[in-house]
């Protein structure tokens, strides 16, 4: 352990982190600090202690296999833009470019972005369309959960306070994958609305997810089912009328929040337009 005081523990292993949590149940896990320390500075939260995961090397490992990538939860967003991850996970590299600022990307972590549970975080829609799973560890053992099962409500996850997100496993997909968002500026700490789309011609699959267009990031199965039936997979093309209908369904089946950033109607419209444009772009690039 690097530092072991009643209120602040700076740990070097997962075992030390879980031990520190047992003796300081009031302390919050923190890694990059880009959400928790910001909230502390603004007076939104007032943690009675911290367990810093910054130097847990077990949680910064990356394993790139042929069919999947396992990323330690402590890997930073900046690492998604570098090799080997940028090539292995193109969707996350695209999203990372729209993620916060350079300074924030150097500190914010993949685990933290998931554990936040807020619907406006950048990575969750991407992890949903990639069917990612998250590994959680606690004193009671290890469990692996699909990202969609972690997301319960705005800022609410099924992660137990004693549990630690230790890694994320992401199946590699072929074909088109892209991310779009609307927001006040690239570097704002939230997105107004975002979308991730995967079109995998080898598996004949279309998957779409939205950020900040429902209480959690969500997939839109109604739009996916429609697209699966509408695509001509032999030529990898989609009629323009089907792209319009796909966008309409994405807008219809989301449940956007209404807040100071945007009205529910604006978010629904943005989701509709982004979905239509992105699926059109996807099939244009696949048929090229």
């Amino acid at each position: 352990m690097i530092l072991d005081t009643p209120e602040l523990a700076v740990v070097e292993s997962i075992a030390e982190a879980l031990n520190a949590k047992r003796s300081r149940p009031f302390a919050r896990f923190v890694s990059g600090g880009t959400e928790l320390v910001a909230d502390q500075n603004l007076g939104i939260v007032c943690p009675e202690g911290y367990i810093s995961l910054r130097y847990v090397s077990e949680m910064t490992r990356v394993r790139v296999a042929e069919d999947r990538v396992e990323i330690g939860a402590g890997c930073t967003i900046a690492e998604l833009l570098e090799e080997p991850l940028a090539t292995a996970l193109p969707l996350l590299a695209k999203a990372a470019r729209a993620f916060g600022t350079r300074q924030v990307r150097n500190r914010g972590t993949i685990g933290g972005n998931i554990a936040s549970g807020l619907p406006d975080r950048t990575l969750t829609p991407c992890l949903l369309v990639l069917d990612a799973t998250v590994t959680l560890e606690s004193g009671n053992g290890t469990r692996t959960v699909p990202v969609r099962e972690l997301l319960v409500g705005p800022g609410i996850t099924s992660i137990d306070p004693a549990e630690l997100v230790t890694s994320v496993t992401i199946p590699r997909v072929a074909g088109f994958q892209d991310y779009r968002m609307v927001g006040p500026r690239n570097a704002q700490f939230y997105v107004t609305a975002s979308i991730a789309l995967v079109i995998d011609p080898s598996d004949r699959d279309v998957r779409v997810a939205l950020g900040n267009c429902a209480p959690t990031a969500i997939r839109i199965p109604e739009a996916e089912a429609f697209a699966l039936g509408a695509v001509d997979w032999d030529t990898s093309t989609l009629a323009e009328s089907a792209a319009v209908e796909f966008g309409r369904l994405v807008g219809e089946y989301c449940d956007p929040p209404e807040d100071s950033a945007a009205s529910a109607g604006y978010r629904r419209h943005a989701a509709t337009v982004m979905a239509r444009r992105l699926i059109r772009l996807g099939f244009e690039s696949l048929s090229r």
């Binding site: 005081t5 700076v10 600090g33 320390v37 910001a38 909230d39 500075n41 916060g100 300074q103």
Partner: protein, 163 residues
């Protein structure tokens, strides 16, 4: 009695060990640099990672010092604007470009811009204006409208043709 003060610790700032005494566990690096170590060149802006006025380098990477728990920076190499400046009081090429282009008005954002830009141009020699705009997205200026800042950084990023 419960106390939330940490034991004394040492931060390595601008190549020198600096003793921090009586800091609370929750204190961020920005606050420790300014109010305990007297290094007021690093500016206090939004305190939630939006404005970049507090940018410092930790192990060569630009980060927001307001989001860093100070005690977790023990053992890291911290560089502030005071350490970036040449010790003889002269200006770096980047700073001279800021002066030449008039890339500041009130100057409050300038230390953060210099720290961000110096790291950026090291990684992106001959960066285009577009690349600089994207790379410096983490720093806000409320006076200049950015045009002069981008022009200054672009000139500083130019690498003379070796041939």
């Amino acid at each position: 009695m419960k106390t939330d003060a940490l034991p004394d610790y040492t931060l390595q700032v601008n190549g020198e060990p600096m003793q921090v005494r009586g800091a609370r566990f929750s204190e961020n690096l920005l606050s420790v640099l300014r109010y305990r170590l007297g290094l007021t060149g690093t500016k206090y802006g939004c305190e939630h990672g939006q404005c970049g006025a507090c940018t410092v380098h930790i192990d060569g990477k630009p980060v927001n010092s307001c989001l860093e728990l100070a005690a977790t920076a023990v053992g890291r190499e911290i560089t502030t604007i005071e350490g970036y400046n040449p010790p003889d009081g002269s200006l770096t090429r980047l700073q001279e470009c800021f002066v030449r282009h008039g890339a500041l008005q009130c100057g409050y954002c300038t230390p953060g811009f210099i720290m961000s830009a110096s790291a950026f141009i090291e990684d992106h020699p001959n960066a285009s204006a577009e690349e600089i705009r994207e790379g410096l997205v983490g720093n806000l200026c409320r006076c200049t409208g950015y045009g002069r800042i981008i022009a200054a950084i672009q000139e500083a990023a130019e690498v003379p043709d070796a041939t």
